[in-house]
């Protein structure tokens, strides 16, 4: 394990497999390979964090743990989206939600993308293996906190299904600080789960190492990667590195892997699909006000969910974030705004993530650097899903006893006081710019497809155009997994790592 302060000069190494990126995909593959006795080097651009390094101030935390300071946004339809830059990748700053994709979703993948062995029955053993390793379990009532239980109450009153969210945590105390890093060390992000286990199995880890280029021999073989050592938080380049390997696994995230391929000479793109098909789960949220204090900062960050409307394209969840981050949704200005901020202790926030399969975009490399240009548009039919999700969340709030909701929709009242008044959320003729969305969960930019002419990788994660280049991040998901994608990616990575170890 090497951190920035350990580097005294350029680094050269060689191994069986080099894995680029330590998030949920890369860490699982590296772990599988290392425990199978393979010589593995895992490369991560960000630094490893300790609880003492986490900052609960949302703004400063984003600047330290996210690429582009957490201020990345799409063009076309302007929507913020984030990519972590730390050992553990997105798992360091997400809510640890681990949900299996519905059977119907995976069946649709099989049918539309010629994937014969990625059905639910195929993945279930791998889901199970990851769940066992991380101790994934439904969030217990003890750490739900009031706002999560209010969501349950609302769903029950409406007769809609709801359930505690399964999460990868050990000893969660309900501090609600998942997004700024778990100070309790309860969240089993890959930096404290798969990566240490891979190290114990012999893997070498280079942190603060930014891969800039893949090394290629001939037309179909990757021979390694090269890049630079960068100082944490500033990006200052201090040294260079190169790692030669028999196999290269890219798991840099679905917004960075296409850029790496493009920067390395339009690699693996005979299909023309690298950087295309960019999809999000656009998130919309509503803040509800209750008559009693809800103490929303206490309880699991995201403890309850409803899959009731998954067949209609959206999933509802509870949500908590640093107040300064979600206060952007509050209406008002000056003293009115302060009055709304003062209601935060009486509030709960519910959000929904939607499968917007018609809304596509692209990832392109900039002239320099590895940050991408993201272009994405929201399809008008998908907009209807978001509207329905807004309506459904409003219904849950009022069924749970909220006195009002703050929907944050341009052109509609700032505050609504009854379920009847909130009906307009379902019937309103939305324009995309009326909504404040966030680009949660990103995927499909190097999609998996059985037909090499229509996809970048096959079901084993290998790029169709290469003999030894693999991709193991959410870019390979062919479309929305209908729910939070982390567990499905980890299951696919688990299978990929096992198969790759057998081949090496």
């Amino acid at each position: 394990m090497r951190v920035f302060a350990d580097y005294t000069g350029d680094v050269f190494d060689s191994c069986d497999a080099v894995v680029v990126g330590s998030g949920p995909g890369g860490a699982v593959v590296a772990h599988r390979l290392a425990t199978a006795g393979k010589d593995v080097v895992l490369i991560e651009e960000g630094p490893p964090f300790t609880p003492e390094d986490f900052v609960v101030d949302g703004a400063i935390s984003m600047a330290r743990t996210m690429r582009e300071g957490g201020l990345r946004a799409t063009r076309g339809f302007v929507m913020p989206t984030m990519q972590a830059n730390a050992l553990g990748g997105g798992s360091l700053v997400n809510s640890a939600i681990c949900v299996r994709s519905p059977e119907s979703t995976l069946a649709a993948w099989a049918e539309n993308y010629e994937l014969g062995r990625t059905g639910r029955a195929d993945l279930d053993p791998h889901y199970q293996a990851v769940e066992d390793f991380l101790g994934i379990a439904p969030t217990p009532d003890e750490v739900q906190g009031p706002r999560n239980l209010l969501f349950r109450e609302g769903c029950r009153a409406l007769g809609w299904s709801s359930e505690p969210i399964a999460r990868s945590v050990v000893g969660c105390r309900g501090s609600g600080e998942c997004f700024t890093g778990c100070r309790a060390r309860a969240k089993q992000s890959t930096d404290i789960s798969y990566v240490p286990s891979a190290i114990h199995a012999g893997a070498r880890v280079l942190t603060s190492a930014r891969v800039e280029r893949l090394l290629i021999w001939g037309r179909r073989r990757a021979t390694g990667v090269e890049g630079v050592i960068v100082r944490p938080f500033t990006g200052e380049v201090t040294h260079r590195f190169r790692v030669d390997a028999k196999v290269v696994v890219l798991a840099a995230g679905c917004m960075a892997t296409p850029v790496l391929l493009q920067r390395s000479g339009a690699l693996a793109d005979a299909s023309g699909q690298v950087g295309r098909n960019l999809q999000f789960h656009p998130g919309v949220a509503i803040l509800g006000i209750f008559p009693d204090r809800t103490e929303p900062q206490f309880g699991a960050t995201q403890g309850y969910q409803s899959l009731h409307f998954v067949p209609e394209g959206f999933k509802m969840e509870t949500l908590w974030a640093p107040p300064g981050v979600f206060a952007v949704r509050l209406p008002g200005f000056g003293l009115d705004y302060k009055a709304n901020l003062a209601r935060i202790p009486f509030c709960a926030v519910f959000d929904s993530i939607s499968s917007c399969n018609r809304s596509l975009g692209t990832v392109r490399a900039r002239r320099s650097g590895l940050d991408p240009v993201l272009h994405w548009t929201l399809h008008h039919e998908d907009l209807k899903i978001l509207g329905k999700a807004m309506w459904a969340m409003a219904q849950v709030f009022f069924a749970a006893g909220a006195t009002s909701i703050l929907p944050g929709v341009h052109g509609l009242p700032d505050e609504m006081h009854s379920a009847a008044e909130a009906e307009v959320l379902r019937t309103h003729d939305y324009r995309p710019t009326d909504l404040t969305c966030s680009g949660n969960h990103v995927f499909s930019t190097t999609r998996m497809h059985g037909d090499p002419r229509r996809g970048v990788v096959g079901e084993d994660g290998r790029c169709h155009d290469f003999d030894n280049l693999y991709i193991a991040d959410t870019g390979i998901l062919p479309r929305s997994p209908s729910v939070n994608p982390m567990l499905t990616l980890m299951a696919i990575a688990h299978r990929m790592g096992g198969e790759l170890a057998a081949r090496l």
Partner: protein, 219 residues
Amino acid sequence: MGRALILFLALAAGWFLRRFLAGYPRPVPAPRCLTAREWATVAAAADATFPGGGAIPPSSEQAEVAGHVDRFVAAQQPSTRILMRLLFVLVEHATLVFPAGGPGGRRRFSGLSRAQRVEVLDGWRRSALFPRRLVFTSLRAILTMGYLGDPGVLRLLGLAPPEIERRVCEADLLWGRVGEPSSAVRYRREDVTPPGPVAPIAAPVAAHRFDEPAAGAIR
């Protein structure tokens, strides 16, 4: 003709210097990152957004919002910093296109009265043009993160982060804090927290009543 052109250019240069560069007080203490011009814009916008009094008494100045924004900008990578700086320049000088009402409404933003600044920002907020609303949303988000990043404000709201006892895990034996070498590990194997139940962090006051409280649920 030549003399008229020179006179025009001189006047234009004078106007430019006066408009864009002159007359900004030097903030004390000196900011880490923001220029005096940017500091003035941020402080003026924060003052309009978070005046003293009301439901949360501290003003933007008492909550040191401009200082927080300065730290936030300083923590960004250079490319992102440029975008934030452009945002501040836009807000400062867009009064040329979207002026405040009353006399002197086209002065730079930080030179307007508070009432005029409120009017200008409210114009951005309510605009039918999405890009204008986006500018407002971005600016207010940055300011709000500063206001709600102030420990005093958070304490008043009851939202101050609690003390949390951390577990020690295997990973803590592998690396130290960011910036330290991996030899700077503080923990030994015997420090690793054994598995076992932990108590949830409890809300300090009675909250909403629930139909089916679970054992140990927060009350």
